[in-house]
């Protein structure tokens, strides 16, 4: 009976994992507070307006989280130039021949549930597969839309230079209305992304059994042993020498 040996490979570096979870939490908070701002619930209260500020607080949380979301995004862009190959910006575009092949493979086998006649061991990607990579790039563009429209709307309420950099956005579209509508619609696009993304993560975990889900917590995935060229580390060399 054939046995498969897996090797543990460090894929998602700590900054990538931290980015991921800050990003996921920030998006969740932004979407929830955003929808509350769009359509606040009816709250009956006998308190005077001067005694409560809950709606102001919701907006404050939205704006504060918006800054976190934005800076986190910038740090991730920086890391895509200095991080490992799986974190690299190149991992987000299926431009090389190899990644284009992988793109087609993922579409055929993972999405359309086909079967590869001659499966290759490299069909399973170690980092993002090419389709996932592209979806993250699309998410990145969507994040930019939120940042531009969000800070554009926010600039009227702020005196700081950073939001004021986005002052031109609202005049460009003609008014707050349309900008807010765009901001609102892309919130729904985030929700669609998250549904698909989380599903596919669990899907791959279930079908491939390589620790996909845990990888975004711990950083490791399991890769078929054959793929790991065995280069002896210093320690191992020492071990073998000692053994002699």
């Amino acid at each position: 009976m054939e046995t498969i040996t897996y090797k543990r490979v460090y894929v998602w570096e700590l900054p990538v994992r931290i980015f991921h979870w800050i990003n996921a939490i920030a998006i969740t908070v932004l979407a929830v507070t955003g929808f509350i701002m769009a359509d606040p619930p009816a709250i009956l209260s006998n308190a005077e307006a001067s005694d409560s500020y809950w709606f102001g607080t919701v907006r404050f949380i939205h704006f504060m989280t918006a800054y976190i979301f934005f800076f986190n995004l910038i740090l991730r862009v920086y890391w895509s130039f200095v991080g490992n190959r799986f974190a690299s910006w190149k991992a987000f575009f299926p431009f090389s021949k190899k990644s284009w092949r992988n793109f087609l493979h993922v579409l055929k086998v993972d999405i359309l549930l086909g079967h590869e006649k001659h499966p290759e061991i490299t069909d399973l990607s170690v980092g993002h597969n090419s389709v996932a990579g592209l979806s993250y790039f699309i998410l990145f563009l969507l994040a930019l839309v939120q940042v531009f429209t969000g800070f554009g709307l926010y600039s009227a309420m702020s005196d700081w230079w950073l939001p004021d950099l986005f002052e031109w956005v609202v005049p460009l579209f003609g008014g707050d209305f349309i900008v807010r509508t765009i901001h609102h619609i892309s919130t729904w696009l985030f929700i669609l992304f998250v549904l698909i993304h989380v599903y596919l993560v669990f899907y791959h975990d279930w079908l491939e059994g390589r620790g996909e889900v845990s990888s975004i917590f711990g950083g490791y995935k399991f890769v078929v042993g054959q793929r790991v060229k065995h280069k002896k580390t210093e320690e191992e060399k020492k071990d073998t020498e000692d053994a002699k």
Partner: protein, 375 residues
């Protein structure tokens, strides 16, 4: 500024005095209009001086696709001098609705102004211009609005667009805009244009813009889309007296509820104040008596582009065009999310069937390994 001696003209000050106002009235007017313009106290003298020494600026005031609410608002602005000096005495050389002359005489007066004051007169435009069907949807004196506008704009020193029609197209440009009603700045590209949106704009705002032009000989400071900053740099929401209720999350749920009686924020019954740049909250209307929100009705966003198409007036909804009248971004979002979730569930089931072989193998391998475990 018009300094050429045109014998029969007088300065603004002279004509104000001739109208029977006192110097005191004049100074009051100057103080008040300077305050509206957001000028410092020390500038009051400068404005007074300018009105004393400068000659009337000829004005051509065109009416195209509009309802004349801008003119109405203007002649009712707070201080009587406004209407008097701007309309009678600022030499309205041409305005269909208010001038004494009519017919050929009126057209001749306009022609004379355009010829004699080429490059000096101010062109005020009320109304949008229909560009569809070769401009035939709006003709005055046998000529299309488009022709008239192009001709009048040619020799104008600057153009003031009064109201949402001239600035954004207003209701006649609402979807599907059958006449292709077009705002002025999309037609005339080579002249300084001031946009004073609103349906109508506040009378004092209109007066302020004109007085600024007259007193300083140049346009007031404009924002990126050509609106005078003094009046359009804040949202109604920023100066709304109901704002504390907004921040406290206390909202009117329907117009006849207890909350409405208590004067809570009108956000949930469709107030567009948070997205509308205008001075209503600060200057109010009808001699500072009230403004929509004060009388219990949400702001409708009349000074914003496309305000007719931006969702329902009495709801806080993100409307979308092209998806049917009743649909909001949220209904579409919910349907899309439902469809995606359904699709994913179907995919999950299909995957478990299609990949049965692989799954079976890995499951049985796992079970075998479980049994083989050292205890």
């Amino acid at each position: 500024m018009i300094t050429k001696d045109k014998t029969k003209q007088s300065t603004y000050y002279e004509s104000i005095i001739k109208q029977g106002y006192s110097r005191r009235d004049f100074m009051k007017f100057v103080t008040y209009i300077s305050a509206y313009l957001g000028l410092e106290n020390s500038m009051v003298g400068q404005v007074a001086k300018a009105l004393e020494t400068s000659y009337r600026v000829p004005v051509i005031w065109e009416h195209f696709q509009e309802c004349t609410c801008c003119s109405e608002s203007f002649i009712r602005s707070d201080h009587p001098i406004v209407a008097d000096i701007i309309l009678d005495k600022i030499s309205l050389d041409y305005t269909l609705t208010l001038m004494a002359a009519s017919g050929h005489q009126a057209e001749a007066a306009k022609k004379a102004t355009m010829d004699n004051y080429k490059g000096e007169y101010i062109l005020c435009v009320e109304g949008s211009v229909p560009m569809g069907d070769d401009g035939n949807y709006c003709c005055i004196g046998g000529r299309s609005a488009k022709d008239i506008l192009l001709e009048a704009a040619e020799g104008a020193k600057a153009i003031i667009c009064w109201g949402s029609c001239a600035c954004n197209g207003c209701v006649q440009a609402a979807y599907p805009n059958p006449t292709e009603a077009t705002p002025i700045h999309k037609i005339i590209k080579n002249k300084p244009i001031v946009r004073v949106p609103g349906c109508p704009p506040i009378g004092e705002v209109m007066a302020g813009v004109i007085v600024h032009l007259v007193a300083f000989g140049r346009l007031p400071e404009l924002d990126r889309i050509g609106r005078p900053k003094a009046f359009y740099s804040k949202r109604v929401h920023d100066t709304c007296y109901r704002r504390p209720y907004y921040d406290a999350g206390l909202f009117v749920e329907s117009f006849d509820d207890e909350n409405a009686k208590k004067g809570y924020c009108l956000y949930k019954v469709g107030c567009k104040g948070p997205m509308t740049y205008n001075a209503c909250g600060a200057m109010k209307w009808n001699n500072g008596v009230s403004f929509p929100i004060q009388s219990g009705h949400g702001c409708f966003g009349c000074s914003e582009e496309n305000f007719w198409d931006n969702g329902p007036i009495y709801e806080r909804l993100t409307g979308l065009h092209g998806f049917g009248i009743e649909s909001s971004a949220d209904t579409i979002g919910k349907v899309a999310a439902g469809a995606v979730a359904g699709g994913l569930a179907a995919h999950a089931i299909a995957a478990n069937i299609s990949k049965k072989k692989e799954l079976k193998e890995s499951i049985s391998r796992g079970k075998r390994n479980e049994k083989a475990l050292d205890s």
